[in-house]
């Protein structure tokens, strides 16, 4: 087995909307090594959730389809799996924690009933063994009174507790890949810190690979080994974490880092990138970021930039073109 767990190549996803097809994901490629935590950052609407749903095989069936590329998990192209084969992976080899803890747990089932689902699907266990396993995992994620909680309903728990339940649901079968889609955005700051801490501990303990989606660079800095920056359905930069913060190559990444509220942000007005992420139907020729980019020149408007490689540091920007760099000097 290679040490790459997940490899996405040239992924393109199309949605059929009332106004015709749009393609919110275009040519996305990145890979995740086993044991690594890879961050995916980008503004709202950049396609983070859609990409992760594609990995889980959870894209809305009739509305969307994968129009190009492949997703290899454990050296197998999972875009070609049948629903039945996919089901064997979900909740077992790969799990996902969703953005919204408040609406992501079924309100009419007890925590115990909800948590027994992946075990029923993937493990041959007696009722008693299942109960033990569930209580165990609840304790692991720091839920007090686990024995009582299994008989309670989601609405009886706080947001932080629900997210812990979601985490334990994802962990039950000890997956190799855990996708976290903004697991802490809906929570307040102290709870957020606790949950992040918990995820770090669990990850270290279980040696999982984490795909960590967020728009918060602070969280990325804390959690991730490497970062993928997404913009308007494309990948614009990939770099190791320190490299990204020290030497961001893409103007969009630079803007994101710049607009991060820091401790001394009170002194100066908060910087923000002007304009908005273009909607999928607004994307034309040239670089998708050109209309908001402070460094854009003629070529950016006419030609889509390729990916420039600088060792492991990738960026999709004409500024990295050696010809342009020669001109600048």
């Amino acid at each position: 087995m290679s040490d790459i767990l997940l490899e996405i190549k040239d992924l393109g996803i199309q949605f059929n909307t009332g106004k015709g097809p749009i393609q919110p994901i275009r040519g996305v490629s990145f890979s995740l090594k086993s044991g690594e935590t890879l961050g995916v950052v980008g503004e709202s609407g950049s396609g983070k959730s859609v990409t992760s749903l594609a990995v889980m095989g959870l894209l809305p069936e009739k509305k969307s389809k994968i129009v190009s590329g492949s997703i290899h998990f454990n050296d197998e192209d999972i875009t070609k799996l049948s629903e039945k084969q996919y089901r064997k992976l979900r909740g077992n080899e790969m799990s996902m924690i969703f953005q919204e803890p408040m609406t992501s747990l079924n309100p009419v089932f007890t925590i115990g009933e909800l948590l027994s689902e992946p075990l029923k699907q993937h493990k041959k266990m007696s009722k008693k063994e299942r109960k033990e396993a569930i209580i165990n995992v609840l304790k692991q994620v720091g839920i007090p009174r686990a024995e009582q909680i299994i008989n309670e309903y989601p609405h009886q728990l706080s947001g932080g507790m629900r997210q812990r339940v979601m985490i334990s649901l994802a962990l039950l079968c000890e997956p190799k890949l855990l996708i976290c889609d903004e697991p802490t955005t809906a929570l307040d700051v102290t709870i957020q810190a606790q949950i992040l801490e918990l995820m770090k501990e669990i990850k270290a303990e279980k040696n999982m690979s984490l795909l960590f989606i967020t728009h918060d660079l602070g969280v990325v800095a804390e959690m991730c080994d490497r970062v993928v920056v997404m913009y308007a359905g494309e990948i614009v930069e990939v770099a190791e974490i320190n490299e990204l913060f020290d030497q961001p190559l893409h103007p969009y990444t630079q803007g994101l880092i710049h607009s991060r509220p820091t401790n001394n942000s009170r002194k100066s007005a908060l910087y923000s990138i002007k304009g908005q992420v273009p909607r999928p139907e607004e994307i034309g020729i040239g670089c998708t970021f050109a209309n908001r980019c402070p460094h854009a020149f003629e070529k950016c408007l006419k030609e889509t930039p390729p990916i420039f490689e600088k060792g492991d540091h990738l960026s999709k920007c004409w500024l990295q073109d050696s010809k342009r760099q020669a001109v600048m000097k």
Partner: protein, 305 residues
Amino acid sequence: MLDFIVKRLLQVVLVVFLALTVVFFLIRLSGDPTTLFLPPDAPREQIEEYRELLGFNRPLYVQYGDFMFNAVQGDFGQSLRSGEDALSLVLQRMPATFQLAISALFLSIIIAIPLGVLSAYKRNTFFDKASVGITVIGQAIPNFWFGLILIYIFAAQLQLLPSSGGGSLSHLVLPVITLALYSVSRFVRFTRSAMLDVLSKDYIRTSRAAGAPTSRLIMKYALKNSLIPIITLVALDLGVLLGGAVITEAVFSWPGVGRLLHQSLMNRDFPIVLAGVFIIAIIYAVINFIADILYAYVNPQIRVK
């Protein structure tokens, strides 16, 4: 919980009181019944005498007070025609009406809920479109007309089933189908949309991400959520079925409360009408009460409160 029950009981009393009041004044508006019992050329004195005898000559509010005073004690007076106790006449007819309504409801549920679920599951396929189409027609067809068609086909032409009367299972078939047509259509469409709504929820995606197969998502995780609105609808429809049985009972001469009320209204036999309204209002309220309890049972968010 006790709080809840007491509050609901007060509501029931209020509803029954209002229903009786409204019906009392409405039927008085239609004129007093003495004219119907006496020949058209009866002398004035005789009419007056008769009105005095039955108390119709008193001011309306006195009659109303009198009626309420007796009604509270369960006394709705005697039938103006037969002289039998009005309430017991109505009660005698109850079982037949219940038999009809409950059978129709049961038939509707076992046909409609699976169909609705299947329709949601196979949304936008030919099956789904066909079933939606049929239910639209089912809701549009008038009840009595459908009943007459059934009588024409199965009783008159094929001579398979009796066209009227009660007493045996074969008598039940046509009226039940007639009555069920509307609820089946309503339930199918309602179940379908409730299921579609639930299936698009975040928590269904969570269960899918946990590895649950589609059949399980539908039969277990989505159905239980959909049952919450479905139960409410079913309870409401039992009320509608009990009331709506009036016409069906008339078409098939089914010996239930509906037919009794229908006849009594035609005859201006007020005590029976009022006793009937009283019973139906109470049943309606009780059904709603039971629905609320069931509702709380499937919806834990209410149960805790």
